[in-house]
């Protein structure tokens, strides 16, 4: 039983990471109908910038804050100078554009920091905590805390503030929103900023658990995207639930079936679920024909 709970605990941690990525995808998608495949690179940039700054003797907290701000800025610039620039392009072209940007980010990162992996010190100590025999790293608790805080803040922003209503308005009907004096381009920029910031936070909290390197964004991006699809694209809550589910299935698959097959098992479950319910577990949220 302890073993089973340990698998679930491990799965919750990886699921938490996927959840932050998935929510980043959805934030941008809901406003601009762009699937930002450079989302994984936001994580990578967050982790790498934090590592680089700590390497330059910047205090931990300041390095983390600066890294988050910098990646947020990268998100804004990406929207302003690339996505907004080609606003007449159809969504497919925009998606391909984001693939190009992700490759660019990876290339630049490998030029600046090289192809080696780097370690980041944990936020609190390295000593694990035992919950009735289930061992959990302190950093894992930070990851879960980060996920919950991000999800709560996003929910609050979207459901309880005027700004959230504006974002929603742009996603439902950009023309009407514009007539009401809301700028869809600005809202789209805001979405990219939020994605950049959450991505950077994710990259920073996960780095101490293993390592960070120029190419960690690829795999995490794919996993997060899968979770977003599984949860029903456009639905943040669904994406988070799906992400945790994906993490737990992976962990149980590795534990009880075969560790060599864990990705195969997780994705088989994903394919199976989508075959039964093509719109995802929670169904794709109907959000009109929004766009830039």
């Amino acid at each position: 039983m302890t073993e089973f709970l340990q698998y679930v605990a491990n799965g919750l941690v990886s699921g938490g990471i996927y959840a932050i990525v998935a929510v980043g995808f959805i934030t941008i998608y809901n406003v601009s109908k762009v699937i930002n495949l450079a989302q994984g690179e936001f994580l990578m940039l967050g982790g790498m910038v934090a590592v680089a700054m700590i390497g330059m003797n910047v205090p931990y907290v300041i390095a983390v804050v600066l890294a988050i701000l910098l990646v947020t800025l990268v998100g804004i610039m990406m929207q302003k100078y690339v996505i907004a620039y080609v606003k007449k392009a159809n969504p497919i072209s925009l998606i391909i554009l984001t693939i190009g940007i992700s490759t660019l980010f990876r290339g630049v990162a490998s030029l600046i920091w090289g192809k080696d992996a780097f370690a980041l010190a944990p936020i609190t100590s390295n000593e694990p905590i035992s919950f009735g025999g289930v061992m959990v790293a302190q950093q894992s608790l930070w990851i879960l805390a980060a996920v919950l805080i991000i999800l709560f803040l996003l929910w609050y922003l979207m459901e309880r503030t005027i700004l959230g209503k504006k974002i929603n308005a742009c996603s439902v009907n950009p023309m009407a929103a514009r007539l009401m004096g809301i700028s869809p381009a600005k809202m789209s920029m805001l979405a990219f900023a939020i994605s950049g910031a959450t991505g950077a936070i994710a990259g920073i909290v996960i780095a101490p658990l293993s390592v960070t390197s120029y190419d960690i964004g690829v795999l995490l991006g794919i996993k997060g995207f899968s979770a977003a699809i599984l949860g029903g694209l456009g639905n943040p809550l669904g994406a988070a639930v799906a992400a945790f589910l994906l993490g737990i299935v992976e962990s149980l698959g590795a534990g009880y079936v075969s560790s060599g097959m864990k990705d195969a098992i997780a994705f088989l479950v994903l394919i199976g679920m989508l075959l039964v319910k093509p719109s995802g577990i929670f169904g794709e949220r109907s959000v009109g024909k929004g766009g830039l």
Partner: protein, 410 residues
């Protein structure tokens, strides 16, 4: 006007025919993944390194390393060591008064690029022998072509398959997974440990280890109670470790290249695994220590002596050459050489030694090298007609991480 049009076509046409010719010239069927020479461009940039000081015609040698891509942490130090030694050899008069010239190529850690590079070196640069490559995949592709062209080759790749089965003229310098496995098992036997768990990378390097561990375990009276795998890019291996924790394994063997093993060591501490971890020589370098931090205390590792140059016994036959290499490398590059630099160093030394004994005639290199005995930085090489690696597990050492440093276990 017509002439210009013709010129525009000439270049692509020439390249295309070149590709066709080299592809057909291969003769024997190269390794499946290595033969798809799709693109038309010649691979990589070549950098002739030797200065033609002597009046006599230089001996041209090719060197293909993974200078970019996933294997670049291996290929870059290999090239640096080779460049350092090359200068020394030519300053000392080269081979038979002829300088050695090395044409470097980058295979970008890719099998196809490696085969393209070796074909280019043979057809364009007319090399007489080749060093490389860094990774096992590219080396296997190259070996196939080199064997069909009767081109002597010395590889720096770990996989046993490069020289097993033995092919004429194909040699390699690093320790194989066979040596690593046997050396670890000897250690376990001394300690009376019989139950092991393994957690290996699912790439060719880790799978090679899995096979050798399975093969040699019965010989040493060892039972494998758990055999787990992980993907090179996996962010977490905690589920595999949880499973291993539930078994009665007395020790965990991890085979992979960084950062995988470092992540495993960190997570094992978080899960309170409670059994010693032995990591393979694929992760034995200073990067590992940097990545694991204080979680690494007590981790055991199998490696070549070059990992702890200052702890090598003064009476060790290798002591002199290790000291010479480490001092020279530090002076030139301001950093400690790792095992990979040593593989490159031994590779060129062996090649030159062979050329000297063959009187500068590269066509005899394959036969001559089979009789060469050479004490290198990696180990004492004794080649034979049956053994083109020439090393034994006794040239490997066991080290323990203590106070953030590698400490030799006596």
């Amino acid at each position: 006007m017509k002439k210009r049009q013709f010129k525009q076509w000439l270049y692509p046409l020439a390249v295309a025919s070149l590709v066709l010719l080299t592809a057909c010239g291969g003769g024997a069927k190269p390794a499946a993944e290595g033969n798809s020479t799709g693109g038309g461009q010649a691979a990589g940039q070549s950098q002739p390194a030797a200065t033609e000081t002597a009046s006599k015609e230089p001996i041209k040698v090719g060197a293909i390393f993974s200078l970019t891509g996933a294997n670049s942490p291996l290929g870059v130090p290999e090239k640096q060591a080779v460049e350092l030694l090359l200068k020394e050899i030519n300053d000392a008069g080269g081979v038979d008064g002829r300088p050695v010239e090395i044409v470097f190529e980058d295979d970008k850690s890719d099998n196809t690029e490696a085969v393209k590079a070796i074909k280019k070196l043979v057809s364009k640069d007319k090399i007489v022998a080749v060093l490389g490559s860094s990774g096992s995949g590219p080396s296997l592709g190259m070996a196939e072509y080199a064997a069909s062209e009767n081109l002597p080759m010395i590889s720096m790749a770990a996989a046993d398959q490069v020289t097993n089965p033995v092919r004429a003229g194909i040699f390699k310098t690093p320790h194989t997974d066979v040596h690593g496995t046997k050396r670890i098992f000897k250690y376990l036997q001394e300690k009376g440990i019989t139950k092991i768990a393994t957690l290996n990378d699912s790439n060719p390097y880790g799978s090679g280890w899995t096979q050798q561990i399975q093969k040699y375990a019965p010989e040493y009276g060892i039972t494998i109670v758990a055999e787990e795998k992980y993907g090179t890019k996996d962010p977490s291996m905690s589920s595999q470790l949880t499973k291993i924790k539930g078994t009665d394994a007395q020790v965990l063997i991890v085979a992979g290249t960084n950062p995988g093993p470092a992540t495993i060591v960190k997570e094992a501490k978080q899960l309170n695994l409670g059994i010693p971890i032995i990591s393979s020589h694929g992760s034995a370098n200073s990067k590992f220590l940097e990545l694991v931090g204080d979680a690494g205390e007590g981790v055991l590792m199998v490696a070549g002596k070059l990992l702890v140059p200052d702890q090598v016994d003064a009476n060790d036959p290798q002591a002199a050459i290790i000291k010479k290499f480490v001092d020279g490398y530090q002076a030139a590059y301001k950093s400690e050489p790792d095992g990979f630099a040593g593989y490159g160093y031994d590779g060129l030394n062996l090649l030159v030694e062979g050329l000297k004994q063959a009187g500068g005639d590269a066509s005899k290199l394959g036969e001559v090298l089979e009789k060469v005995k050479y004490v290198g930085v990696t180990g004492e090489f004794t080649f034979s007609a049956e053994d083109h690696n020439g090393l034994t597990e006794d040239s490997m050492i066991m080290v323990e991480v203590k106070d953030g440093k590698f400490q030799l276990l006596k």
